[in-house]
């Protein structure tokens, strides 16, 4: 697998895109794997009682799935040194059906001396950003 080189990167360059889909089963799987059993992610009645339109995806599922485009591009999950996001909007997950989340990863900054690049993620559902200030610092050769 060819790994990207810092010297080849230009700020603003889009390095990866992916469309994620989350169905209810994906939320149940994430709940089990993460231990986050909050019923707003699997129980419509409960979600409604706390003022949500229905079941929503875990913010941490969106965060975790979005960074994977950077992992695959960088070629090593160990290259991710730092990753932070703000959660700006919930992602409702219909039943039946699935939510669609679009991820685009672009070069935000390159630090040749440190051997790192900052990759900025744009993560949207229905055209609105669901993660804000989503930045991934990766170590590259």
């Amino acid at each position: 697998m060819t790994r990207p080189l810092l010297a080849d990167l230009e700020v603003g360059q889009v390095v990866a895109t992916r469309t994620l889909t989350f169905a209810r089963a994906d939320l149940v799987r994430y709940a089990g794997a993460s231990g986050d059993l909050n019923p707003i992610h699997w129980n419509d009645r409960f979600a409604g009682e706390v003022g949500l339109p229905g079941v929503i995806a875990h913010g941490m599922l969106t965060m975790g799935a979005a960074v994977d485009v950077v992992v695959d591009w960088a070629g090593d999950p160990g290259a991710v040194l730092d990753y932070g996001v703000r959660f700006t909007r919930p992602v409702p997950v219909p039943d039946p059906g699935a939510a669609t989340v679009d991820v685009s990863a672009a070069v935000g900054a390159v630090d040749v001396e440190a051997g790192t690049a900052r990759i900025d993620l744009t993560v949207t559902a229905d055209g609105a950003r669901v993660l804000g200030k989503a930045q991934v610092l990766v170590r590259l050769a």
């Binding site: 003022g51 913010g59 994977d68 992992v71 932070g84």
Partner: protein
């Protein structure tokens, strides 16, 4: 209301959290991560890792157990049904791999009242059994006061935790 006296508190180290190979794989599957280093020991070793390595957000599993010391403490006054997750950040000092025994120290870095919300920022310092720093997880929760709806159309920010 959130108990402001908890700001600045540091908790004793947690019991070790054993990172299992199948859990690393299951978590990777759950976030759609197919990179071989999460699943295949030989592929991980070819990249210089001792075993399969965890996805970048796996540390949340370890961190949330430590955070429970604060969140499940009735005296802290955090009503989890009124909490939305505002921010999350992972700093990896080295990748987490299967076989790690991780010990976490929870710090309450800040509790700030802002526009009817209490913003609670915690920091988990996660280290290996020998004390080597592994990851720092900073999480900010927004806790709505009793007079505020948990969520309304006028409050689009934040996703429930």
């Amino acid at each position: 209301m959130v108990n402001l006296a908890y700001a600045g508190r540091t908790y004793p180290p947690t019991a070790p959290y054993a990172v299992g190979r199948e859990h690393v794989r299951d978590f990777a599957r759950a976030v759609g991560a197919t990179h071989p280093a999460h699943h295949d020991v030989a592929a991980a070793r070819a990249l210089g890792h001792p075993d399969v390595i965890a996805s970048p957000t796996f540390a949340v599993v370890v961190a949330q157990r430590a955070e429970a010391q604060l969140i499940e403490d009735p005296d802290a006054g955090i009503d989890f049904s009124r909490v939305v997750h505002a921010e999350e950040r992972f700093t990896h000092h080295r990748p987490i791999h299967a076989g790690d025994e991780l010990v976490t120290v929870l710090h309450v870095d800040g509790i700030v009242e802002r526009a009817g919300l209490s913003m609670v920022t915690t920091r988990c310092e996660i280290a290996a059994a020998d004390g080597e720093p592994v990851a720092t997880v900073v999480s900010t929760l927004a806790v709505r006061g009793p007079e505020q709806p948990v969520r309304g159309p006028e409050q689009p920010t934040g996703a429930p935790a």
